[in-house]
Symmetry: C2
């Protein structure tokens, strides 16, 4: 009997293509900066030799599917923040040879695929969502983007933003620019960040001795309702001298409402968005905001999940902070003082 054909190694592919082992490895994983010709030569050599990319062998050994699930609240599918989180996660996943299956809330079936996913990321888990509970009580590792609601089993690890501190950062900036009566449009309190924003706002107002002026900014409210909430707010005798808004998009409506009331954005009423977006950087005036590091949130949750899947336990049970930073723009130039008027 013939001895079994020895397995084709990465070195064989490299030799056939006339490149180093490292170059062959990187190129086959779509990494490194090589010419299209070099990549093609390596691909051809791999195909001709019947080289099996390692990840397959590894998955066969460990009975893993090589794909993870990303559970995203579907009422948020058109928000840039969540798109950035998702694409950050996909980008990081590719570095660990993992595929990402998007699981929007609207999907209530149990696909055969979900049973085979190696782990899950839940983004902005909502109170009382049965899918989040099912995933957290299952046997696959789950990493949470933002803290999971109270009463549920802890995830393998969490990546989070400190939204109490984020809110404070934004309010302190408004204060420094002369605002004394900030109103706040708060997102859905069924998610951790919405609760933390509200908490940060309440604590800050108590400290400064100013009254709270809250507007609720539910994801599924209509633009018309948001517009009229702002209009009512600005028509009050004790109208706010500044507005913090969330989620994204709301700041542009605030700007419009302030103008319609005959007031100047950045001088009579300051505007700051809790969530940054491309549009806020270039609108007139550009709008001050918080960069919540959405892409970084996606990368970080996937980084933690890769740890879990690869048996690295150092960060098990940990909560890793995703930094929030203030982006100052002209919409918070500063309240006009009397001498200026």
């Amino acid at each position: 009997m013939d001895s079994p054909t020895p397995a084709v190694t990465l070195q064989d592919v490299a030799d056939a293509a006339g490149v180093s082992r490292a170059t062959a490895s990187l190129s086959l994983r779509g990494k490194g900066r090589f010419s299209a010709e070099t990549r093609q030569r390596i691909e051809d050599a791999a195909r001709d030799l019947g080289y099996v990319v390692n990840v397959t062998a590894r998955n066969l050994r460990t009975a893993r599917s090589g794909a993870v699930g990303l559970y995203v609240p579907d009422h948020t599918l058109s928000f840039r923040y969540y798109m950035d989180v998702a694409f950050g996660a996909v980008e990081r996943a590719a570095e660990s040879d993992l595929l990402v299956t998007l699981m929007p809330t609207a999907f209530r079936g149990r696909s055969a695929i979900t049973e085979q996913l190696d782990g899950f990321i839940v983004v902005d888990p909502v109170d009382g969502d049965p899918v989040v509970e099912r995933l957290l009580t299952g046997r696959r590792p789950v990493v949470s983007g933002e803290h999971v609601p109270a009463g549920l089993p802890a995830p393998w690890a969490t990546a989070y933003g400190d939204h109490v501190a984020g809110m404070r950062m934004l309010l302190d900036h408004l204060w420094e620019r002369g605002a004394r009566r900030p109103a706040c449009m708060l997102p859905d309190p069924s998610m951790a960040w919405g609760r933390e924003m509200a908490e940060g706002y309440a604590a800050w107002c108590a400290e400064k001795g100013v009254s709270e002026q809250r507007v609720l900014g539910w994801f599924d409210t209509t633009m018309d309702r948001v517009r009229s909430s702002f209009q009512e707010l600005l028509a009050r005798d004790d109208r706010p001298d500044s507005i913090v808004s969330a989620p994204e998009g709301m700041a542009l409506i605030a700007v419009e409402a302030i103008r319609a009331a005959g007031l100047v954005v950045g001088r009579d009423v300051l505007v700051a968005s809790y969530v940054d977006s491309d549009a806020l950087a270039v609108t007139d005036p550009p709008v001050t905001s918080l960069d919540l590091g959405a892409r970084q949130m996606g990368r970080q949750t996937m980084d933690l999940l890769a740890d879990a899947l690869e048996g690295r336990v150092e960060r098990r049970g940990s909560a890793v902070e995703v930094p929030i930073s203030l982006v100052v723009r002209a919409s918070t130039a500063g309240i006009r003082t009397e001498t200026e008027e």
Copy 2:
């Protein structure tokens, strides 16, 4: 022997929850507008009775996994256009109880998952991409977003934009607003839309008897290189009086370069972007662009793939057009005439 327990039906769940069969069905699929209480009651009834959501049964019957792959060029992962396509596809997939697995180009392994996906969508297939070829020669249905490169097997169906016509629409608009020397920044010609844009530009210039002024706008070029290309263009004696740019983001650099040259955007030099984005609507001046219907492209490709998976053959082999529309804004107000100066 006892007779086998009869299967729990949707009607049983509806009866137990005290709702109609339709309400139970919608609620279990996360659809319809019901109170959180009603949803919970239905979920509880389904769980208590051990009701199996239909999709599982259907998938078991047909040996399908209930998930499809979306292959996206990874050098485009940070472009809004592709994010919109992806989320449009995810949204439409959920309506057919399908999950979507994102497969970026960077993923070169062969996950066990990809072998089980029921079908694939390839977005902007690139010339010579071995994965596109492998998918098209495989046994699963493939729907293409934009035409596949010549020489490959035809996909099950195609959704496409008519970029020759799109380019002409934009150039005709510039002409009508007084521009006679439009320069064009063209994207990667290894993709169908890049080739079609170039073709549309060449044909239009030949018809009007004007010379082409091309700038190549590769996805992986640096912003600095793009900036200096625009600067060189504007410093020429026969400088263009209008610029069409692609991909997204490039128009903002054009605006900046025109200003830096001491010229007025929309009056001395018109600017139009081939790809619309949120930022272009609110920048100063707002920039004229084409709405390529990215989300619609995602929905349409998934709609065709759902047909393929559900055995509806009417549109097999068809090419469905995704409409392109012109969004006119101040950046193409009109070339200043001599009497105005």
